[in-house]
């Protein structure tokens, strides 16, 4: 029996803590607990109001069993169509613009000045939320789907360019080098050396973004930027839960269909 063992036998064993320094560990735990208490204390919940609301909540849940597609079918249909139109148009334009920006934002493809400009565009687009952009665009361009279309296109650029640029930056250098070695010019190099490598990812991301764009298009109506959101808002305001349930079910079904479709397409391109 070695002396190290001798020293350990009969001693307690404890799992080494995640944070080694005790004071830091306790500071974290204490800080977190204090924060939680403070946070809970500052939320004033009107419990009697919540209790009253439970009845309405029940009605809403029950509304899902008997959604009302018919009494406002005109509004629902128009709103849905507008949402879909905005989604399609914004996805096409957004993806179209994202590709050159993604190329520009990949350090291994673009020169430094271009890289900085493109990264700047991406940062701005990502930092501003859809709904805030929509508010500003509605103020500038007036109510209607144009503002929604521009919002979604703008948001698509930030999302898609960033992820695509990351994919381009992590591509296999050897393949690209081989094309360059054949004496290809820059455009040919992109077409043969880069595009085949990032294409599956581009398609997957695009499908995902179409999905997100549709979901977002459902809320743009709240600020007057077109789509189903306005109808939904009205339904909630009038406590027409059965109509609201019908709209929500349609949104869920369309999102599920898009996810299924994107699964099929992604499986085919890979």
């Amino acid at each position: 029996m070695s002396s190290e063992l001798q020293a350990l036998i009969g001693k307690n064993w404890k799992k080494p803590p995640f944070i080694q320094r005790p004071w830091l560990r306790w500071a974290f735990i204490l800080g977190f607990v204090v924060y939680l208490i403070a946070a809970f204390l500052t939320i004033d919940v009107n419990w009697s109001r919540v209790y009253e609301g439970l009845e309405r909540g029940k009605q809403f849940v029950l509304a899902f069993t008997s959604p009302d597609f018919t009494s406002r079918s005109g509004d629902i249909w128009e709103g849905m169509l507008e949402s879909i139109i905005m989604t399609v148009a914004a996805s096409v334009v957004g993806i179209g613009i994202s590709i050159p920006i993604a190329l520009g934002a990949a350090r291994n493809v673009a020169p430094l000045p271009v890289y900085l400009i493109c990264r700047g565009i991406i940062a701005v687009s990502r930092a501003l939320q859809e709904i805030i952009v929509a508010i500003l665009l509605v103020a500038i361009f007036g109510f209607g789907p144009l503002a929604g279309f521009l919002t979604l296109s703008f948001a698509t650029i930030g999302f898609l360019s960033k992820l695509l640029a990351e994919d381009i930056e992590s591509m296999d250098k050897v393949q690209a080098e081989a094309i360059r070695a054949s004496g290809a010019r820059w455009t040919q190099w992109i077409n043969y050396g880069v595009q085949p490598q990032v294409m599956p990812r581009l398609i997957g991301l695009s499908m995902y973004r179409i999905d997100i764009n549709f979901r977002e298009s459902a809320i743009l109506g709240l600020v007057g930027a077109g789509g189903i959101g306005a109808t939904l808002n009205t339904a909630f305001d009038r406590y027409e839960y059965d109509t609201a349930a019908a709209i929500l079910i349609m949104i869920i079904v369309i999102v599920m269909a898009l996810e299924y479709l994107s699964g099929v397409i992604r499986a085919r391109v890979q």
Binding site: M1, S2, E4, L5, L8, I9, N12, W13
Partner: protein, 264 residues
């Protein structure tokens, strides 16, 4: 001590992995299970502790029939069968000590194990075992920081702390270099001898098997083709197990290596 009777395993795909295997292992015997890939070695081992549910047939461990047990009773019996895995199968994000102590899970309640408050005797035994395999200093390292050979030693400790009567060893050396492979095999066999454990070692390196075990079983297409001492493994026998190949070299090499080792 362990008896298999007409053990059959047919997978859902229709592949018959085991065809009515009969086998009896006395107390303290270390046995090597050899055979080509897909012969059913892994399935046989897993059918004993029912990680794979056998289709029909019986397994008796010291008189208890394992095949008909309820899940609670099966868990009790599993404590008596330590298992060592091919790719170590340590929980990589836990520390070495936690991995070793996880061998006691069948003995302690959920809450105790969840808060890592094991009985002192378990902790002491874990330290003793780690010392025995030379990893005492590593006790608080995370398992994914260790090398392959070290990880397999931890795997051995985890199996032994169960205080088993039988070791089920699945390809212990498959992902190790030749030298470490030998060390691990030697360690397993020594520990079995020290503690009087029976063991089934499923191994594809025939030479290594011959070097350490008392009995060899050859499996081919889910049936026992050979059962005898390692010396009886002639080229003809190997041909019936593995198929046509020049086996002289394999066997001759073993003897050479052993001579070298003796010379060292």
């Amino acid at each position: 001590m362990l008896r298999l009777e007409k053990l059959v395993k047919t997978y859902k795909t229709g592949d018959q992995a085991l065809k009515a295997v009969d086998l009896e292992i006395p107390e303290g015997q270390v046995l090597a299970l050899i055979g080509p890939s897909g012969a059913g070695k892994s399935t046989l081992i897993r059918c004993i502790n029912r990680l794979v549910e056998p289709t029909s047939g019986n397994v008796y461990l010291a008189g208890t029939e394992l095949t008909g047990l309820s899940s609670g009773a099966l868990r009790k019996e599993r404590r008596r069968m330590g298992m060592i895995f091919q790719e170590y199968a340590l929980v990589e994000r836990l520390t070495v000590m936690e991995n070793v102590l996880s061998g006691r899970l069948g003995y302690v309640g959920f809450w105790r194990s969840f808060t890592r408050r094991y009985p002192q005797s378990d902790v002491d035994e874990a330290f003793r075992l780690l010392d025995r395999v030379g990893l005492l200093a590593m006790a608080d390292k995370r398992a994914d920081e260790l090398s392959g050979g070290q990880r397999q030693r931890v795997g051995i400790c985890r199996a032994l702390i169960q205080n088993p009567a039988l070791l089920l060893v699945d390809e212990p050396t498959a992902s190790l270099d030749p030298k470490t492979s030998r060390q691990i095999m030697r360690l397993v066999c020594e520990l079995c001898q020290e503690r009087g454990l029976a063991a089934i070692i499923n191994i594809h390196d025939v030479a290594l098997a011959q070097m350490f075990v008392q009995r060899v079983i050859g499996l081919r297409f889910g049936a026992v083709e050979f059962d005898g001492p390692p010396e009886a493994l002639t080229p003809d026998v190997l041909t019936t197990i593995y198929g046509e190949e020049d086996w002289e070299a394999t066997i001759a090499k073993v003897e050479d290596e052993e001579e070298i080792e003796v010379a060292e």
